[in-house]
Amino acid sequence: MREHSVRSIRRGLAAREFSAVELTRQALYFAERENPKTNAYLRLCPERALAAAEKVDERIAQGEDPGLLAGAPVAIKDVIVTKGIKTTCASKILENYVPPYDATAVERIEAAGGIIIGKTNCDEFAMGSSNENSAYGPVKNPVAPDRVPGGSSGGSAAVVAQGTAVVSLGSDTGGSVRQPASFCGVVGVTPTYGRVSRYGLVAFASSLDHIGPFARNVEDAATLLEVIAGRDPLDSTSASAPTPNYAAHLDGDVRGLKIGVPVEYMNHASGDTAARVNEGIERFRELGCEVREISLPATDYAIAAYYVICTAEASSNLARFDGVRYTMRSADSGTLAGMYRNTRGEGFGPEVKRRIMLGTYVLSHGYYDAYYLKAQKVRSLITRDFTKAFEGVDAVVAPVSPYPAFRIGEKVDDPVAMYLSDIYTITGSLAGIPCMSVPCGTTSEGLPVGLQILCKHFDELTMFRLAHAFEKR
């Protein structure tokens, strides 16, 4: 499994080396056997997987095109709904929730021949940077089992790194795809806001939420994005911009492309991480790119703005979990108010409660202007910084995280430190631009380091071309 790519599977199926059913059985067996090492899957869905595989084999038998993802085992983060397959958001409050519909991205994956084999662990409602905030236990990093895989999409990064899926979907609100990709040594992509429909992604912060792919190489990530991207009438924020054929246009010269390195970012990174990122920047020079310093002056205020906006949106989005519609109701529900309060008090974990409280506070009477409105203005400034930078450069290159994967338990008691570690990823999220993490060597302890590439709105193609050239060198 570890050796397979989307392309190698497509080729193997076409050459009749194996059938989709055979490969799916193998993938399910391997995932079940390996999962205790990481706790990355919350559940596998063999029936659905085998039914999808049979369809792929049928299409091939009838001489039809089985699709771009034909036969590829795909894992889905458990905040993305799957019809008939439990979707818990790694929360106790949704322990028994079985969605009556599929997310658009999930539908598109299966239409392209992809095989959904299971749902992955994550931070509860995608809130966290270490995957330690799951009601179902933390995920262990497959590269170093005493360390976190990053978060919140830790499970989706880990299954791809471990080889128990070929590609996976995560969700990224402030770095939740890129940071775990960097911690686990895989490719992780946050597309332009609006590029991928959010229909069926359980909402955390609607103006920041993205669905994004993980893969072991740039081509697979590009292929998966191509499949899930595009306008969806069920998400009014999805964009009607046409989706380029990414995977077919990865090759090609990157010579002459201009790359900006933000001075504000390089001040924070330390030790081996900074060393690897600097070597990465050097690699772009060797590829013929023109590297120059740029400035993103509002960066210092990004964390404050991000945590105001995302918690405010979270506090309203999570109001729907009230004991009425979604499976759990406290036994102590004698009155309506008691039902709300006790269900939520018993069902949510500590980090989710913290964010609901923060969001409620910043939106409360007398604080709205000082926090929420102010944060939205700062968000404009951060976006303006990027717009200005992209007048002079084609891409921005930066670290993903200030440090590599840390030990499980190391930062769990310090929410402020955990929030501050998102510094490099949240600026791109706030601006809504496409960004990705691509593997960039390891530290002296053998821990993966990721390099972040950010481009203009809807310019994933330049980002992928740069990442592809970088990966090959």
Partner: protein, 99 residues
């Protein structure tokens, strides 16, 4: 900005969230630390800057509209299938109006 226990209880009430005394203590400490970071927003000049509520891109005014075509709804049975308590195809909640 320092938060008091009273503030925390008030916000928990607004959020319809039952917290234990131990959780309240922890919130006073954690929220205080985070708000200290958020208070840095006051330092930056945003005079004349428009608030950004949504990522915007070039699109027609009607780009967010979908064609007005019929679509089969979920149906009553499926719509309430995940509810903890139902009755006659409806969501059932504790009594709201006293006699």
């Amino acid at each position: 900005m320092a938060l008091t226990e009273k503030d925390v209880r008030y916000v928990a009430d607004l959020a319809n969230l039952n917290l234990t005394d131990k959780e309240i203590d922890r919130m006073v400490h954690d929220l205080g630390g985070i708000l200290e970071q958020m208070d840095r927003l006051a330092e930056i000049d945003t005079e004349g800057v428009e608030p950004m509520a949504q990522v915007l891109f070039e699109a027609d005014d009607t780009a967010t509209l979908r064609p007005d075509v019929e679509r089969a709804p979920l149906g009553n049975e499926l719509a309430v299938a995940n509810a903890p308590v139902t009755s006659g195809g409806y969501f059932k909640v504790p009594k709201v109006i006293e006699r």
